[in-house]
Amino acid sequence: MHRTLLSFITSIFLCAAFSSEAQERTDWELKAVQYERAAFDAEDPYDAAEALVSKAECYKQCGRYADAAATLGRVGMYLLTPERRQEVLYRKELCFYLAGDFDAAASYMEEADGEASPRRLLLDALVLGECARWDESKAKASALTDMLYDGAELEAADAALEALFADVPELRDEKKAVFRSFLPPLGHLYSGHLSEGLVSLGLDAAAAGWTVWQCVSGNWITGLLGGGIALNYTLMGGMERSAELAEQYNHDALRGFNDALRTLLLQHEGAE
């Protein structure tokens, strides 16, 4: 009886101890501190560099991509072997991409000169897509499908890519939107909001009409001051709004295209 009780209590304790240990093991943030400690204590700079790479991986695991990228930025690249250097560059590109800093990701992509692998081509294609460098993105995506498939599968994958890249978004220039707003509703139309542009045109016309009507009636002060103030507000407001709409259009178009690109590329087995 005693032996049964003893083994029962012991097993409860062991479960608790191991679950606690497991919880600590999965605590990536604490692990990151431990790797920082390893880098701090390391006598060999190479060991310190490797500890920092591991620390960055911990941050990546807990979703702190910007911190992961910053940690990788502290790694002494000159200490690493060429292969390891390429690996760290890939991780930097990935972390910056996940952190939403696509220009920085692209800069690390350009720095890399190692052998192309499916995962690198996938990441490059996504980064270039986010930077609106469509032709380069398409080239990387094609290289990825070439690497993964052949025969009918390759033809199908290339056809899907062609179909997607045939419809790349045409981004709007905010300055052009503002310039076109001098003739409402052209600025709004350029940003894809015709109905709002017509409302803006109506307000501008009302302000201008008031000015003309009052001046013709001999009320010069009322016409020029009142109408001028109103026209200033409607026309300038329309210009500002056009710039805003162009920015919003670009954001939505980029997001839509890149989401579709990501979905398409992640379907390929072996690329992840």
Partner: protein, 278 residues
């Protein structure tokens, strides 16, 4: 059964004791983390690792939290550093600053009142700063009795506090009523007085334009014409709104000035600590 209980107790307590270490072992690493802008990691290390309870641990926790701008946690940890500890003086003064930033000025005063250590002039500086923050004019004057203006780390802050005191109690503050009166005479003038030149010009042009339009319509069509009534009403609304706005602008200006002074006080009671306890 007694043997069983013993075994159970040992199994429960031994692992935690076995893994504990002394915080002093990690002090250099914690300093390194804080010095390299990794304060959050220092806090994590000190809260999640298993350490024997000690004054070093409490001091390091306080210091890490203070550096990470977690002032409540910092104050709580500094409070636990006992009087005989080599970290006591530094903990106490940084506890004063933490509480001052949190708005617990009475706690800061209480901590300073309990201090009887070697940093007497620093204590006077902190007391003067807290008195100024609490608007205790006489206490500020009493505390400045401890200023010697001869200690390198303290002189600049002592002069700065004296300057803020003079500005606050002997300087000219702007009058909201005067701003309102100025805007009543010339629309926008009160805003200019409050330091808002562009707002003042805009108010002048708006009220002036509406007045001109009203005058034109009044002269041509009489006082009962709809345009006279419309623009006259709009003009009156803007005119009265501008008077009220000028009053509020000066009040905001005075409030901003006071906040800026408070920020400067907190800065000047904090900076010397870094030099003194470096």
């Amino acid at each position: 059964m007694r043997r069983l209980c013993c075994l159970f107790f040992m199994a429960l307590t031994l692992p935690s004791f076995a893994q504990r270490s002394y915080a002093s072992k990690d002090a250099a690493f914690v300093d390194y983390l804080i010095g390299n802008n990794m304060e959050d990691e220092a806090v994590l290390l000190l809260t999640r690792s298993r350490y024997h309870s000690s004054d070093t641990l409490q001091y390091l926790r306080g210091w890490a939290n203070y550096s990470a701008k977690r002032l409540e946690a910092a104050a709580e940890a500094f409070d636990k550093v006992p009087a005989g500890s080599p970290f006591h003086d530094k903990s106490l003064f940084f506890n004063v600053i933490s509480n001052a930033h949190l708005g617990n000025l009475s706690r800061s005063s209480e901590l300073l009142g309990s201090y009887d250590g070697p940093f007497k002039e620093l204590k006077s500086l902190e007391e003067a700063g807290i008195a100024l923050l609490e608007d205790r004019r006489d206490d500020f004057i009493a505390a400045t009795g401890g200023f010697t203006f001869s200690q390198y780390a303290l002189t600049e802050s002592e002069r700065a506090l004296q300057g803020i005191f003079n500005e606050r109690y002997y300087g000219r503050s702007k009058s909201p009523a005067l701003a309102a009166a100025a805007s009543a005479v010339v629309p926008g003038l009160g805003k200019v007085y409050a330091g808002e030149l562009s707002e003042g010009v805009a108010a002048f042009l708006t009220v002036g334009s509406l007045a001109a339009i009203t005058a034109e319509n009044w002269a041509k069509y009489g006082v009962k014409d709809w345009k006279t009534i419309l623009f006259g009403t709009l003009g009156a609304v803007f005119y009265i709104g501008n008077i009220y706005g000028s009053y509020v602008s000066v009040s905001i200006h005075n409030n901003d000035l006071r906040n800026a002074q408070d920020t400067a006080i907190l800065y000047h009671i904090h900076i010397p600590l870094r030099s003194v306890f470096q």
